[in-house]
Point group: C2
Chain length 371, copies 2
Amino acid sequence: MARMIVTPWEVRGEIDYERLIREFGTQRITPELLERIKKHTGELHFLLRRGIFFSHRDLDWILDEYEKGNRFYLYTGRGPSENVHIGHLVPWILTKWLQDKFDVKLYFQMTDDEKFLFKKNLTLEETNRLAYENALDVIALGFDHRKTFIFSDIDYAKTLYREAIKVAKRLTLSTAKAVFGFKNSNNVGEIFFTSMQAVPAFLESVKQGRNVPCLIPYGIDQDAHFRVARDILPKLGFYKPAAIHSKFFPGLLKGGKMSASDPRSAIFTTDSPEEIRKKVANAFTGGRDTIEEQRKLGGRPEICSVFKYYEFFFEPDDERLKEISSSCKKGERTCGECKQILTEKIVKFVEEHQKKREKARKVLDKFILRD
Amino acid sequence: MARMIVTPWEVRGEIDYERLIREFGTQRITPELLERIKKHTGELHFLLRRGIFFSHRDLDWILDEYEKGNRFYLYTGRGPSENVHIGHLVPWILTKWLQDKFDVKLYFQMTDDEKFLFKKNLTLEETNRLAYENALDVIALGFDHRKTFIFSDIDYAKTLYREAIKVAKRLTLSTAKAVFGFKNSNNVGEIFFTSMQAVPAFLESVKQGRNVPCLIPYGIDQDAHFRVARDILPKLGFYKPAAIHSKFFPGLLKGGKMSASDPRSAIFTTDSPEEIRKKVANAFTGGRDTIEEQRKLGGRPEICSVFKYYEFFFEPDDERLKEISSSCKKGERTCGECKQILTEKIVKFVEEHQKKREKARKVLDKFILRD
């Protein structure tokens, strides 16, 4: 297996989440911590129950403060280099659930500057356009516009740059190189950028003129940015941001995470039913070479990308998920029928999402922060 | 003599302007070029006649374009880390003369972000405040508000950041290190900053949607920024900015340029008559140890800081300047009387400037660009 690489710009190899917890110095989300959340939320989202959000920093402190009446706010974001795929929605879905259950604000950052700086062939006009296209996918999930503030870095730069240079002043080139692995061939915008990503982690404190705890749900690949932010923010007089980390949504092909760079590996929210059918039909499964072998030996849901789709997204009911797994293992469920059931679920979801996405165009302005 | 160091953040040692022309790869401003300017302006400003503006890049091209009817615009700026001193006014005075004679626009950049990033003990609030205080000094010189656009980087960041990242994407860490001498201990904001300083060199082209030539008058210490800008702007489809470079206004003490970091070396526009009198009284001159020696050997205007004040600022008449020099050399003019005459000229200028500066508060808003 290829060496594991997990950075904000590259995820490669077989992912060992336990090793990431050790290497990044995060904490496992324990059953005790889940129980503590449940005390406030009444139930647990399946993304928490199933350990898809598996790691955290200072989530216990966030709950301490919440219990004292010091309400946190949420911050997450998106690098708008492409249309949104199903994998992107996973952390946003938990973010919405947290917003609803705890009744808190959310800052949602569209890093169109980042994607312009890091992607050779993308223009600023294109990443900026995608920022607003991707925002429609966020809104389509049902976020409350009174509590949700979406912004493009480029169009909110007056507010952000002023705060970002305070972070930048505290971040040496030496540290940036060590944390992100920058080389002499990196451009100076790439090196500066993490300062912009740090800002929403204290922006609510700036606006309120008092310290407000911040909780950031994100894919564990983004952790380097927030290790830097956690180091610097206390020096500026702010709390360290807390975090909960999700695993990567596996791609439809063998190995690797769902990736916009290989369209066959991901279902985009803009895909047509035909595209969805084709992609699922070609998906990598844990099935055997022949139906006879499948009946005899059973399938392997633990390596199956189709099963992961049920687990991460399309089967929120734990009992039913267990049935899928056990009937697969017993060889009762063939890959063909399993794919067909999933296809219909995805097509239905995407069709509904696309309708909500189009409706979102009309209310987009209610969500957008601009200078 | 100490080794010559000339960077945007440090000027040290004995300055060899001929060597700077060779090392920076600029052109000398020749008598022929001055004649060409005079064809359009009718006369030559003493800062040009006396070679205080001594070097350029593509000034001949600016005149070519002007003669073809393709009018240029001006861009200069100020790092607001302190109050303004007389030395700062020198390039601005020529800039105003150029604006008047050629009837052109001026962008004036206040790099409050830079000074915050590079000065350990300055807060953003302080550099931002100084940006507007220093702007009063610019306005007091009589710039035309219909053609003059002053902005703080912090308060105009939405416009600037969008363009700056286009520059940043083209500038590798490797080049930034080679040009500016950055080390691992520099902060990531310092490394990014030159991208912000490049923007006004093509901002008018962005606004007009067509290429407009840009001429930048500046102290030669800022050259590194514009070498970078000249390299990158054509890659973005813009003209290389042209430039004219001034020498450093010498300080009142022995050696070095007038510097805000040693208040005794400079006359600030906010100084009281008493402060001015005291500073000039303590100034380094080319006089002899005793009056008798002075009468016998004569003074040395070529090393005298008081004489430099006449040359750079307070005696625009070439004939009278020559008289001061020759009477000094002949031992007819003592340092005491020479200082007294200068003191009165400075006090008068500063008092008038301060009045204009206060009036400028009322019209400041007419000059300021904000997002």
